[in-house]
Symmetry: C2
Subunit: 211 residues, 2 copies
């Protein structure tokens, strides 16, 4: 990944660095196709100042930060959408974990699980694979407190599945974006990770391509 | 995974527990299909003492321990071989890491990499994916010191690929067991992890099967 961002605003270097780091953590560092990173994964931002506008007041900073965040999120989203063999983007939101690091660990485990990714490919509302991916992380998580929704339909609540129309949820999963929301109900920290599904096309690309 | 082991020897409980733990670490805990574990993964050993033979001397203990280790390894091997859609077992040996934990972390990262597993499925001697999987672990690893062999053919040595007959190595990878050996050349600790390749059949099984 090589991300080059430019702005014609004048932004002080320390501020620019800070805002890029924050934006990256919620975008480039929150996207995974197959958990492989590269030593040349890079995000660079250049501020020319050519427009004459400068980012100084806290209102300016908030606005600039939000805009940069939007751009980075869009780019990260495109990485997931362009994942090898991807048919859809899967947005994994883990809510109310004890710490942000816990939330991120759980979200990444779900997003990287080949079982979950295959279920997404097959439009299978397989709550068991998602909850068990969360459960096998070495961070506090209690299925008896957790609630899972797929495309805004509740499928699991406090230790067990709830009655839901499997056919309807399956049809709703047949979309270009799928929302997986796991509420841990343990604390007040959230994290979002974007990934894509795992398709036969992924295997074709990566098994048949030779170096 | 539910593993039930029995012996008709008489073995003191603390010894039995100890030996099973050691054997499990090098077998059941060293096998991965898609990194998913289950809360019901279990290994149990029962010693009836019915044979009248008892395990007491250090020679007996060593012999019993070796035999149990062999049985557990065989069972773990069968789990990898029986992985969903598996066409081959991949044995990942990481040698000369700084610590055993580092060696295990690197071996698991290689064994769980979808990119590596697809390369194995396609008989692709793709050293880059293996070395980069090692490199993205958060443990000491220096590609400039490392050597990688596939089926006993050296393909990477101290920072770069070596000349090898790609067709010949690819043919050698078309086997029911593939040996991946990564020598880190940093310390003196080793670890072995068993896994299987990632095939289109894995996706078929896990995308088309609905709960």
């Amino acid at each position: 990944m090589l991300a080059f961002l430019t702005t014609d605003a004048a932004v002080p270097v320390p501020l620019l660095r800070n805002v890029l780091q924050q934006s990256s953590d919620r975008s480039f560092n929150a996207v995974t196709v197959d958990d492989h990173t590269s030593t040349n994964d890079t995000a660079v931002i250049l501020a020319s100042g050519l427009s004459g506008a400068s980012v100084e007041s806290s209102r300016d900073i908030a606005k600039f930060s939000a805009s940069l965040g939007e751009v980075c999120e869009s780019l990260a989203y495109q990485i997931a959408a362009d994942g090898e063999g991807a048919t859809k983007v899967v947005k994994v939101c883990v809510q109310r974990a004890l710490t942000e690091s816990d939330a991120r660990t759980i979200a990444r485990a779900i997003a990287n699980s080949p079982l979950v990714k295959c279920a997404m490919n097959g439009n299978d509302p397989n709550w068991g694979r998602i909850v068990s991916a969360a459960g096998l992380c070495d961070v506090p998580f209690d299925p008896d407190r957790a609630t899972l929704t797929l495309q805004r339909t509740r499928v699991f609540h406090r230790g067990g599945p709830v009655r839901f129309d499997a056919k309807k949820v399956s049809t709703s999963l047949d979309d270009t974006q799928v929302d997986v929301v796991l509420n841990c109900n343990l604390g007040d920290r959230d994290a979002t990770v974007w990934t894509c599904d795992l398709s036969k096309q992924y295997v074709t690309i990566n098994a048949d391509y030779h170096t």
